[in-house]
Symmetry: C2
Subunit: 217 residues, 2 copies
């Protein structure tokens, strides 16, 4: 089964555990723009990304957003199963940024495997450590990096992801990634434009001087 | 041994593991103000706090600080043993805020216990989940809370910890807790003073209107 290639510890499980997992795992497809997991509202289970791109973010009471991490092919998300993780006291929301196909491991089954298998438990530990490291990195960015650098970083990262220098992104969307207000993004993009680093058109940002954007970092 | 009362899963370990742990665990004392753990410089092991108060923080390249969490009696710190946790890619620094006595579990022993015991591995998971939740909470504060509210929160929390309304804290120290510049703290404290909420004296902040400080939150 293809799933086994996407679940790195599959071969370290017992035959009974492998069978149980294979029988229980479900495939699901989320079209670009759709909500995959909605904070504490659901406990869908562990998500294993087959193809596509997901965005995990947190929301403020006023509806502001900041992207916490993204998930690509082969990535695994633990927090969509946070209901069965003791001591997890925060909610993340996950949306599909591109058409995405995933496998879902039911939360109860994963909880059971964590209780009985040191391999699964240590793997959950590794997954959490990776996400923790990403969040600590983000914290350092937010605390100590100038906003022009964060914006330039984001534009370059998007350009690499989309393999294009023309990014179809509204200022609102960029603000939601970076956890700031739309006006702040607009102001900085206009400054970038006046410096000849980008060109702004309706609903798109074109990167025209990658070197200078990179040197801002 | 008293240590067993401070290590919640002690009774779930095998007799051999209990013996190994009891024989390997070391006690250490850190006077107030001393460095306990210095980022990636050392891998001291798991810290179990007996008495005292520790502060875990991150440092920017320019030497700015922000407090990530604090540890009190019975608290356990995983990240002072991060060398043996795969995928942990950030450094924290830990200092003693008060005279502190701890037990230290050697990193190799803890790593070995994690490999062989699903109880230990799941416990490490729980510890990490708790810290992760604290960091996510902090991220939300930093992103979305006004600075006057964060400062008021901090002063009230300190007042509860010290059981006093007179806090012997320099503006520099407060800035290092909150991840901001000293001048920002000074400006806001002066505003608090002009509003009659605090009284500033050399090296100390006296909280004189708790109600209003609390209502800022």
């Amino acid at each position: 089964m293809e799933f086994a290639n996407y679940f790195p510890i599959f071969n370290k499980l017992t035959p009974a555990q492998q069978e149980l997992l294979t029988a229980s795992v479900k495939q699901a497809t989320f079209p670009a723009g759709s909500l995959v997991h909605n904070g504490s509202m659901d406990c869908m289970g562990l998500i294993v990304v087959h193809t596509g791109q997901l965005r995990a973010y947190i929301l403020s009471d006023e509806g502001r957003e900041i992207t916490i991490y993204r998930l690509f092919d082969h990535d695994i998300c633990l927090f969509s199963a946070s209901c069965m993780m003791r001591n997890i006291q925060f909610d993340i929301t996950i949306e599909a940024e591109k058409d995405t196909t995933v496998w879902i491991i039911p939360p109860k089954l994963f909880g059971q495997l964590m209780e009985e298998s040191v391999v699964v438990s240590n793997y959950a530990n590794e997954l959490m450590s990776s996400r923790f490291s990403e969040v600590m990195w983000l914290m350092e960015q937010v605390m100590w990096k100038r906003f022009d650098q964060r914006l330039a970083d984001f534009l370059i990262q998007e350009s690499n992801l989309e393999e294009s220098t023309v990014l179809k992104l509204t200022h609102e969307k960029i603000a939601n990634h970076l956890g700031t207000a739309r006006e702040v993004v607009t102001r900085m993009l206009r400054y970038f434009q006046s410096e000849g680093m980008v060109k702004l058109t309706r609903g798109a940002v074109e990167l025209i001087d990658m070197d200078r954007l990179e040197n801002l970092q």
